[in-house]
């Protein structure tokens, strides 16, 4: 009986150890840095951690020595000392010296980290609830501009497609439009936000910077190898906070030039004639896309909203009321609620999404909203 029990324990420990070996492939440390600055930060973390471990082992070595040798059950009698000036001065001064030794390399790294001057390319990253917008402001590719939203299918998240989730190596860390940058160039990222605070965080590139509405912050990185680096929003920004990833694709200079050219061609092709007369059906089709990217997270694809939290659009007074009021609401948002201003969308996008909401679900106004009426109310 007893023997069996022991065997059981040995088995348990062995299986635990084998699974520890299996874990070795999982990260126990910071992600491998892909920038020189990141390497410095990585080393700094290693040094601080090693110093902490040494002191920890030393201090608790004393404590455990006392626990085992100075116990009453082995007959140890208590000494009655309760101070020792020399020792007390020593253990105040020695940590002080160690901390100064730590602060010196930390200072150098911090100053490098905060030097955003002489950037080759400047990109503005704007946090929205819940996606990122990117505007290439300076350097090769200036004037490129796009939004970047999560591309993981909803079914994988909600559990309707668990197999798909398990087969997806980039679950929740993939976007429809990646941020593309050339290798070996200093990229300055300006961060800001349209609604609440977000944070632009890519661990392998060692950057994290809050995106504060109404203010511009900056950070930078210079990737050493081409590759795809994944991160996500790091500051709680509402219900979809866990679902606004950042994917940075670092390319060779030639590939980057080609990417810039393709983006510019795409931009020209996508440019819509502002005077084009859209039909209701065209607006609805376009509007459904815009709705999916901007509105469905709260108001739901069914237009039913979430009772108590996000109002239903189906049968809504605003959506079925005068169009001017709905346009005004979309342009200005509603203070004190999660309904933000959507004036960053184009006239056509707004016209189409409003048309879509006014002619979907239980709403049948039959109205097609023209982009001119959006322009007039801006």
């Amino acid at each position: 009986m007893r023997n069996l029990g022991v065997n059981k324990w040995i088995f348990a420990v062995a299986s635990l150890l084998s699974s520890v070996a299996a874990w070795a492939e999982y990260n126990l440390n910071l992600q491998t840095p892909h920038t020189l600055l990141g390497q410095k930060i990585y080393d700094l973390h290693t040094i601080v951690t090693i110093i902490c471990v040494i002191i920890f082992v030393g201090v608790f070595g004393f404590m455990f020595y006392a626990v085992f040798h100075h116990r009453k059950s082995v007959g140890h009698k208590a000494a009655q000392f309760h101070e020792n000036t020399a020792v007390e001065v020593a253990w105040t001064l020695i940590p002080f010296v160690i901390l100064i030794a730590l602060a010196i390399p930390a200072t150098g790294t911090l100053i490098t980290m905060r030097d955003t001057t002489e950037a080759d390319i400047t990109i503005k990253a704007t946090g929205y609830q819940w996606k990122w917008g990117y505007d290439y402001l300076k350097g090769e590719g200036a004037s490129i501009s796009f939004y970047s939203t999560l591309s993981t299918p909803r079914a994988q998240i909600d559990g309707d497609d668990v197999a798909g989730r398990q087969a997806n190596p980039h679950y929740l860390l993939e976007t429809d439009n990646n941020v593309v940058v050339p290798v070996g160039k200093k990229i300055r990222i300006l961060t800001t936000a349209a609604d609440v605070i977000h944070a632009w965080y890519v661990p392998a590139l060692s950057v994290k910077q809050d995106a504060v509405p109404g203010f511009i912050r900056d950070t930078w990185f210079k990737a050493e190898q081409p590759g795809i680096y994944r991160g996500q929003c790091a500051e709680l920004c509402g219900k979809q906070h866990g679902f606004m990833p950042i994917v940075v694709e670092v390319m060779t200079a030639e590939k980057y030039t080609a990417w810039v050219a393709s983006q510019q061609t795409k931009a020209v092709a996508a440019k819509v004639d502002p005077d084009k007369n859209w039909t209701l059906a065209e607006l609805k089709t376009q509007g459904e896309k815009v709705f999916g990217q901007n509105c469905a997270a709260c108001h739901q694809a069914t237009g039913m909203g979430v009772p108590g939290a996000f109002p239903a659009l189906s049968g809504s007074k605003v959506v079925n009321g005068p169009q001017q009021d709905q346009i005004k609401l979309l342009l200005n948002g509603k203070q004190g609620t999660a309904m933000n201003s959507f004036k960053h969308l184009s006239d056509v996008e707004l016209a189409s999404v409003i048309t879509y909401t006014r002619n979907s679900w239980s709403n049948h106004t039959g109205e097609a909203i023209s982009s001119a009426s959006i322009k007039a109310q801006r």
Binding site: H45, H76, L99, D210, L236, H241, T337
Partner: protein, 534 residues
């Protein structure tokens, strides 16, 4: 053993003839209580109740995070759980627990009859249930609880539903309660010490509470100001935190953390005090470096006002400010180190025994120091920028809040339970409670360091697949830890109802007045006339 005879404890010797020991009965005894012991008891039960409520919320969080994907709750409810788990544990569980200790122990340890303002003491306590009602009730407001994080950052908090207003009022009420409690503690400690009880003779627990009470009086109004500004931004058209109207969202963070960092020590310092009573008692040796302990605690408190922006390294500030806050923050390691060294030196060459209070105190010492070291890692700005808002931070503050403050509270409860109830707890069950808590705590939180290092942000309801294993382990640990606390409840109830009778001084090395001068259980009215301290 009978209490040492002084003229103070006649209430004990001829209890039958003495109306000092007259107790009110029924509901009135508790509702109208002005007795520091009854109020202390109510604080402790209240905090245990909130600990369970906050714990259930933690288990909702850990259930959702057991596997990738959204299984159990919606993201907005998940956010509400993280928010109220934090608020309830900090303001409803840990802080009231230590105020409960303060109420029970301060008058007994300094030889006073009661707290300085007994009626205000009653009010301080009875403000808590309405605040708890608001915090819990916020879950049922239209739109659910405010999913804004316990830090209530603007402008997310300006955007939240009506639950946010309930939360703000709860914080106002909790703040009033804390301030009144602190005024009471400061006044009691400064004015009501028995003759001969010089400040530098007070037990360490009293010192830590004197310092904590000053911190509370200084920073609770700051928090009240921050949430009031949020309230007026929400409803009265002000723009303190709205850039479009000339305000600044980051201003909120500065104000919040000017409260928030001292708050960390408001929780930690009384925990230091409890441990400083327990370790010498079971080492049978006086506390090493009493004076340096007092100075170190005071230095920590003063430094805690000067480091707030280390919570905001990624919010954006000049590099000079980041350097200053980094230097000031690493400095805190010096007095904290002194305290740890002092505790170890107290144990050194003592005559140690390992009853449950001592086990929890050693657990505290070991794991709190671990949390302190991850704090040092986080204080280095470039490293913090990597780890800020990741699970590394979550692991760090749970080491100092749970293994630190909560373990210290457990140590204190097992230590003083014989004095409070007159009965001994079940030593064997107490030890099981300790080992279960220790193992499951580490299972829950140690792996979170790895999650944070690998880049998992906090406050997300779903995560990338590379985080799956450690999250599963952490969730298993959390359930184990949660259920272990039911054993604690059982132990306490068993002690009260059927514990063996406790001697007046069950711990050989315990030497403060409640042990040397008072019987177990401590009479309803103690030290009606002050003892004489040699």
């Amino acid at each position: 053993m009978e209490a040492v005879n002084t003229h103070a404890d006649h209430g004990h010797h001829d209890r039958g003839h003495d109306d000092h020991d007259h107790k009110p009965t029924g509901l009135k005894r508790w509702l109208m209580s002005t007795n520091h012991k009854d109020i202390g008891t109510m604080y402790l039960w209240f905090s245990f109740f909130m600990f369970i409520v906050g714990g259930i919320m933690a288990l909702v969080i850990r259930s959702e995070l057991f596997q990738p994907g959204l299984q159990i709750v919606k993201p907005e409810f998940f956010n509400s759980m993280t928010t109220y788990h934090g608020l309830i544990m900090v303001f409803g569980a840990i802080m009231p627990a230590f105020v409960g200790f303060a109420n029970w122990l301060i008058p007994m340890q300094i030889g006073a009859a009661d707290m300085a303002f007994p009626r205000m003491n009653n009010l301080s306590f009875w403000l808590l249930p309405p605040a708890a009602f608001l915090l819990i009730g916020a879950q049922f407001a239209p739109g659910g609880g405010a999913g804004v994080g316990w830090t209530l950052y603007a402008p997310l908090s300006t955007q939240a539903g009506p639950a946010m207003d309930l939360t703000i009022f709860a914080i106002h009420i909790l703040g009033m309660s804390s301030i009144m409690g602190s005024i009471n503690i400061i006044t009691t400690l400064l004015n009501m010490r028995a003759p001969g009880m010089a400040l530098m003779k007070m037990p360490m627990f009293c010192w830590t509470w004197l310092i904590t009470a000053y911190l509370l009086v200084a920073v609770m109004p700051v928090l009240a100001g921050a949430v009031t500004m949020t309230l007026t931004d929400r409803h009265f058209g002000t723009h303190f935190f709205n850039a479009a109207g000339g305000g600044d969202p980051v201003l909120y963070q500065h104000i919040f953390w000017f409260f928030g960092h001292p708050e960390v020590y408001i929780i930690a310092i009384p925990a230091f005090g409890v441990v400083s009573q327990v370790i010498p008692a079971f080492s049978r040796k006086p506390l090493f470096g009493y004076a340096s302990m007092v100075y170190a605690t005071a230095s920590i408190a003063i430094l805690s006002f000067m480091v707030w922006a280390h919570h905001m390294y990624t919010a954006g500030m000049p590099v000079q400010a980041q350097l200053y806050f980094m230097y000031a923050t690493v400095l805190i390691a010096v007095p904290t180190g002194v305290k740890v060294f002092n505790w170890v030196a107290t144990m050194w060459r003592g005559s140690l025994t390992f009853e449950t209070p001592m086990l929890f105190a050693i657990g505290f010492l070991f794991l709190f120091t671990l949390g302190g070291f991850t704090g040092l890692v986080l204080s280095i700005t470039p490293v913090d920028v990597q780890l800020h808002d990741t699970y590394y931070v979550v692991a760090h503050f749970h080491y100092v809040m749970v293994a630190g403050a909560l373990f210290s509270a457990f140590a204190g409860i097992y230590f003083w339970l014989p004095k409070w109830t007159g009965r001994m707890y079940d030593e064997k069950l107490g030890r099981i409670h300790f080992w279960l808590s220790l193992v499951f705590f580490n299972l829950t939180f140690f792996v979170q360091h790895f999650l944070g290092l690998a880049g998992m942000p906090r406050r997300i309801p779903d995560y990338a697949l590379q985080f799956a294993e450690f999250n599963a382990i952490s969730s298993v640990g959390a359930f184990g830890f949660g259920f272990s606390q039911l054993l604690f409840l059982y132990i306490v109830i068993k002690t009260i109802t059927s514990g063996e009778k406790a001697p007046d001084r069950p711990w050989e090395g315990a030497d403060s007045l409640e042990w040397t001068h008072l019987p177990s259980p401590a009479p309803f009215h103690s030290f009606v006339e002050p003892p004489v301290i040699k």
